[in-house]
Symmetry: C3
Subunit: 347 residues, 3 copies
């Protein structure tokens, strides 16, 4: 399948400079794109690639210059325009054939929507509900009383535990667990006694969750992942946490119990949060940060323990200078001490 550059400019909502009749064979990353391919630059720090790219065309921000002779589509959001072009070359298609595979095991009182696709070896517990158009890939296990909304894709070997609720258009990647017990034990008479974890987890619409992530059920009440939140792989979400709308969490980050992330928060990889914290709307958390205090709206924190990012940068700069600076201060003090002695001796 090929497209003309003009077609791509139209569907991506951008403004074309160059030969609209060019035949484009597909999209590619800028470092490896070759003749006939289209690529993009969104972040000015990668603009230097424009000079050397082998691509025939490139999508750039409205204000970005491009080398003579390179066909260009200028767009408000080049990354999003690129998304539309990738999708044009690679139309979405279902992972499974329609219907319920004969090797799937479906419990009593299950409500299956229209057009569901249930793969081999799926297990659906009693009284579950699976929405229209939803796909459950092989090895998925739904405990009793689970609800999954419409047009979801639940990938292989995902476990959705008893009573978990999943909204519409949710994607959950392979091996992820939703609704495992929260980590709560009372120490009594020499050993830990398990606090029953009788709450649940609610995953709202348009959430995407990566592979091998773990989201614990609430002790009481619910753990909640709000609309449009995006979670990467191998993330830990403890009991009673809330992840706000359109909040994005990178891989291997972890939240302790009852911590609440606001709306539009961005969390870097391997960051960790203590329990019972409030992280405000639009806050940002650096990779590997150790957040032990609540974070106000719109603030970026980094470091472990985490502090405002500017402060952390200043402290890192100071720490980097420290060994040399300690030497220098010793030298200066010694200099002063020896000068001290001179006048004394001359008196």
């Amino acid at each position: 399948m090929t497209r003309t550059l003009r077609e791509l400019a139209v569907l991506s909502g951008g403004e074309l400079t160059g030969d609209g009749g060019l035949t484009i064979t597909g999209p590619a990353p800028i470092e490896v794109a070759g003749p006939g391919q289209i690529t993009f630059v969104s972040n000015p720090k990668y603009a230097h690639f424009l000079a050397s790219t082998g691509a025939s065309a490139v999508i750039v921000p409205r204000a970005m210059d491009a080398p003579e002779g390179l066909a260009v589509i200028r767009a408000d959001n080049p990354y999003y325009s690129f998304l539309l072009i990738v999708r044009a070359f690679f139309p979405e298609k279902p992972f499974l054939a329609p219907g319920v595979h004969p090797t799937a095991v479906v419990g009593d009182g299950v409500r299956m929507g229209e057009g569901v696709r249930i793969g081999p070896r799926v297990v659906v517990g009693d009284r579950c509900s699976v929405g229209d158009g939803t796909q459950l890939l092989p090895g998925v296990v739904l405990g009793d009383d689970v609800t999954v909304g419409k047009n979801c894709v639940i990938h292989a070997n995902v476990s959705l535990r008893e009573r978990v609720v999943v909204g519409d258009r949710v994607v959950i990647h392979d091996g992820t667990v939703v609704g495992s017990d929260g980590f709560g034990f009372a120490f009594e008479a020499g050993s830990y006694r398990k606090i029953p974890q009788v709450g649940t987890v609610v995953i709202e619409d348009d959430v995407e969750i990566g592979a091998n992530t773990a989201i614990d059920r609430a002790t009481l009440g619910e753990t909640r992942i709000r609309k449009g939140a995006k979670l990467d792989n191998l993330i830990q979400i403890a009991h009673n946490c809330v992840v706000g709308e359109h909040t994005a969490i990178a891989a291997q980050a972890g939240l302790s119990g009852s911590t609440v992330l606001g709306r539009g928060v961005r969390v870097g990889g391997q960051a960790g949060f203590a329990g019972h914290l409030q992280v405000g709307d639009g806050a940002a958390v650096g990779a590997q940060a150790g957040v032990d205090k609540s974070v106000p709206d719109g603030i970026m924190v980094s470091g472990s323990p985490a502090r405002p990012h500017r402060e952390e940068m200043r402290a890192q700069a100071a720490a980097r200078q420290l060994p040399d600076w300690m030497k220098e201060v010793r030298r200066l003090i010694r200099g002063l001490e020896s000068k001290e002695k001179e006048p004394e001796s001359t008196c």
Copy 2:
């Protein structure tokens, strides 16, 4: 189901102040509890919630004051009393119907105990033993020669590899792997050669392990998780490690090979341990700590590299002051130098 407050006071072993005839509809966390609900405060730092809670009754430590008009149960261990009350409202019930589901695949020479509940699509290898009352949830895989004790719950898609031994009353959450090969390779003639990992893993009685955790088998001998230990989600336990009795490890922590944690150790989330370390009984390790030396009994360490917690706190305080302090020292030295010059010039 409702209970009177008097009934709850009796079953929780606490002392009631207030109207024992109050009808209680259920337990709830203190921030969200409403009329008819019972909650608890254990840690004095959350005592301020008592003034604002909507709960009808609250369990508190013997010595804690409570506002006028709030019904109170005073108990030695309010968290444990709360546990008993939660359990009273939410009695435990099995996840599966009794017996072996017809889609389970059971190998040769398997010994199944009384009252087992083996779910759909479970695979049990040859010569395994499953104890009385144990539940294997859908998708669980037992390799050959695995032993699981009595009254265990092994959740969906857990893998217990060949020869692994699990005690009684053990709970393992979804997706966890026990007995994967240790990470051991000898570099020879330009490439890594795999050291055969021919040991095993022993999980003792009353252990609970979270979701998507990985516990490697020993190279030779055994990796061992001792009685009553509690492991959270996404934890790495390498070959030949030992986790002591009643030791608790929070999510995403990781132990390198042959490290031994003593009894009653507490490990914070995302902490990491080098190999071949000894961590003493009752030691504590802060979240995100990087432990590269053995830790004596009863000591708390934190930071990366980890050191005694007080020392780390002192060093963090110093590091926080550092940028301002460097400025100040520069100012003082400059002041001294200029004073130096004055007397010189007057001589």
Copy 3:
């Protein structure tokens, strides 16, 4: 099964000192080895164990002394010699019976090699290819169009997503996911829009991957794990990353998108890498390091943010001294200030 020490010396390629007729019953770690057992010391820092070991024989480096009376095999690479001896006592054997288990679900157009062993409840998608001698353990799921080479072992509940390519002699441990979608979203009109992840993952020959690891497919093109690389448990490899030949990555480390590790790199546990970095051949990265810049060939970095290891060691030493040093500098400056005042007063 027993062996004489002479036999073991021959098969391990070492030079025997002591009674070659000794009967050896098996290998054991040095701390726990007893009479009749053979052990090894490779690292001189563990040489002190030689004095106290209960083993009857020990493999040591050519130049290492050993106590009088202990039978010794001297070898160029004692760890590798030990490997050969372990393998002699524990010959490798298949995990599964030959053939395709009747409960496996095999799609259309699948090419099965000679001597494959496909376990219960395995699902193989349409148009997959499984090489000669390869074993797929229970619960493994292959998406459509997956290729697995010869003599691989894919452990229980592993998911290899659509179009993933796996070479020969690859081992993947339980619960690992290869080919989940990269974490790429464009923010547009108030919410995240998913960038289609239409690339794939290529795992080359002789790679071993631990349990519950996640390797994302490329957005476009491929994520690639090169020949002989060894990955531990719970590792995150993001879209479009490359892991070089004979590179080893310890547990819980994570790579952000498009980062490239060279050949023979060693990465410590829980280390994290920002995106779009180049890590040179033979580089080494300390445990818990936070790598935010590219690393030249052969350099060791550590710390977070990571810097050359010597520099980090020097900075850590300075930071450790800092609280005491701040006190000392204050004392010296006060001393100088008071001396300043003295001559002034005498003038």
